[in-house]
């Protein structure tokens, strides 16, 4: 297997393992909520009013988790189709937003918040490489930032050209020079540089802020 294929499979493996874990969480909540409703139904004829609120709460939980699951499944499906075309026109804002939904758990496990701040911007590029660039951007930030930090990923335009801007913050986060030194030492950053080059995008870091951009 060549190194590029190996890299792509490793990326897909991490994304898929993360998402299936999220689906299992959703299914577990639905299962327990439905089970609780079953338990309540078994005793309800004796004390219906007492359990009505708990029954309704379980119903709401099931509906919310189904919505969460459906949104995740839709975005996961779009992600799974990323390798279909080597080049495709896509909405950069939507892709960034979907990416953040799909990877929010990676950040959550480190007590870091991840947000997408996006608007509709058309871009023709390699969808798989774009997802990989976003993934390595996030992975490099997560390797440097302490708990209680935040990461914001935004799609915008600069002189009519699409840009992805990644901004980090947090009261315990390192200052810009140390942040970028550590970031550049991470293996994910090296992968990001390679992927950006393959996309034909330039990677630029801010001098005083914890912010870097991918210019297309």
């Amino acid at each position: 297997m060549n190194p590029e294929t190996e890299k792509t499979l490793a990326f897909y493996g991490r994304m898929t393992a993360n998402l299936t874990h999220e689906f299992k969480n959703i299914l577990a909540i639905i299962q327990e909520s439905a089970g609780l409703m079953e338990d309540i139904m078994a005793v309800a004829p004796l004390s219906k009013e007492k359990y009505q609120e708990r029954f309704n709460n379980s119903m709401t939980t099931i509906k919310n988790q189904l919505q969460r699951g459906m949104q995740l499944a839709t975005r996961f499906n779009k992600f799974a189709h990323a390798p279909d075309h080597a080049s495709d026109e896509l909405d950069l804002g939507e892709t960034v937003e979907h990416f953040c939904t799909l990877t929010e758990r990676f950040a959550r496990l480190k007590h870091i918040s991840l947000e997408a701040d996006t608007r509709e911007i058309k871009l023709t590029t390699n969808p798989l490489l774009l997802y990989m660039a976003l993934f390595y951007s996030l992975d490099s930030c997560l390797s440097v930032l302490p708990a209680k930090s935040s990461i914001s990923m935004a799609a915008s335009e600069n002189s009519g050209k699409p840009v992805i801007e990644i901004e980090c913050a947090g009261k315990d986060a390192p200052a810009a020079p140390q942040f970028f030194t550590k970031l550049r030492e991470s293996s994910a950053w090296k992968e990001l540089e390679d992927t950006a080059a393959q996309l034909g995008a330039s990677l630029e870091c801010a001098e005083n802020d914890l912010r870097f951009c991918l210019f297309f």
């Binding site: 299992k24 577990a28 909540i29 338990d39 959550r108 708990a147």
Partner: protein, 147 residues
């Protein structure tokens, strides 16, 4: 006496719903949403069984298990894992977890494991009591040494 169960998982709704179901079955249930919170809770209260998720923010299930076993060696821990591979749960078993379950798990299976875990804890406690009683009968002064 009701079986005292501590449920630990960062999926808040999962913990709340499962807790309700166990209460319906007459268990005395407390809940925590992180490994850190669970360790702090266990310093103050004694539980018979802890249901512990493996993958959580902060200290994960295996690290929390180690701390729980240091603090309360007799408390039995059942690991919950969402991973398709059971390696993380096997690591937990090596560190003294009673058993593990894959998420989403069958409630009846979970209840059976909780009951078995409680049974083992009771047996261990009885063995310790018997050993102490034997020691006291052969050496009454040792009762004072234990205090």
């Amino acid at each position: 006496m009701k079986t005292r169960v501590l449920l630990v998982d960062d999926e808040q709704q999962f913990v709340e719903q499962l807790s309700e179901r166990l209460k319906f079955r007459d268990y005395d249930v407390s809940i925590c949403f992180s490994g850190e919170e669970a360790v702090e809770n266990i310093k103050q209260y004694i539980y018979d069984v802890v249901i512990l998720d493996v993958s959580m923010p902060g200290i994960d299930g295996n690290k929390a298990l180690k701390r729980i076993k240091e603090l309360r060696p007799l408390t039995e821990v059942i690991m919950l894992t969402g991973h398709a591979t059971v390696e993380s749960a096997i690591d937990g078993m090596k560190q003294g977890a009673f058993d593990y379950l894959m998420k989403p798990c069958d409630t009846n299976e979970l209840i059976a494991k909780i009951n078995n875990a409680r049974q083992r804890k009771t047996e261990q406690e009885e063995r310790i009591r018997a050993a102490k009683a034997k020691r006291y009968s052969t050496s009454p002064w040792s009762a004072l040494e234990d205090k």
